[in-house]
Amino acid sequence: MERVPILKIGDILLVSIQVDMSDQTAVQLQEDLAERIVDTGCHGVIIDITALDIVDSFVGRMLSTIASISKVLDAETVVVGMRPAVAITLVELGLSLNGIRTALNVERGMELIAAAHADELDYQLDDDPDAETATP
């Protein structure tokens, strides 16, 4: 079985999916990522799907699950590089990528994560109960 590599860049884990993943490979990636988030204490995960020419319900569900798992482990997930044809197809398939943040490219994704993390630090410092909290 092929395995998708996970790179650590500063405080961020970068996953660039370059293969047409089998379901097993997708599930493995989910597990590997959870482990790496805990091992590294990273606060951000970027999943680059530029090379994917389709996202079906299985991979879509995997992306949602990764986003949920990383949230529980105090990391923000951003999916970047979705092709227009993939976006159109996902909508027609009826898949809503629930809870998934998206950005145009890796750079924008990094900015999103940095901003989210800065907000969170502010909140912790202020200890302000009225501050904006993440609602599910």
């Binding site: 993943m21 020419d53 319900s57 044809a85 159109i88 027609e92």
Partner: protein, 139 residues
Amino acid sequence: MTAGIDLGHPQAQSVRSDEDVVRVRQLVRTVAVAVKLSLVDQTKVVTAASELARNTLVYGGGGSVEVATVENGRRKGVRIVFADSGPGIADLDLALTDGYTTGGGLGLGLSGSRRLVDEFEIETSPETGTRITVTKWSR
């Protein structure tokens, strides 16, 4: 792209593992490109094929997929048949409803792939299993 694929004859792929589902996607893409579907239509038909091949594997207990080119006057298209000899689909209307699943999925495979193709036919029974034929035409 695979060299030497004879587009005049249907291409068969057995579906016994999730690696085979990957092969089905690749085969359908090759044929969709050959009949000059637009990029969006290629993406739609490959996505539908991925959903249906996975159902063949998971619910049908494995089976086979056949991919062929079809012609209708000036239009060309890709036709895919997914066949298994599994238990069949007991309640077809229900199974074609968005969100209905017996397997803990999202329940979008059947209903969603029907939206992604131009023609969609199902024959299913407990005796003969399930056979789904889909067609996507070039515009």
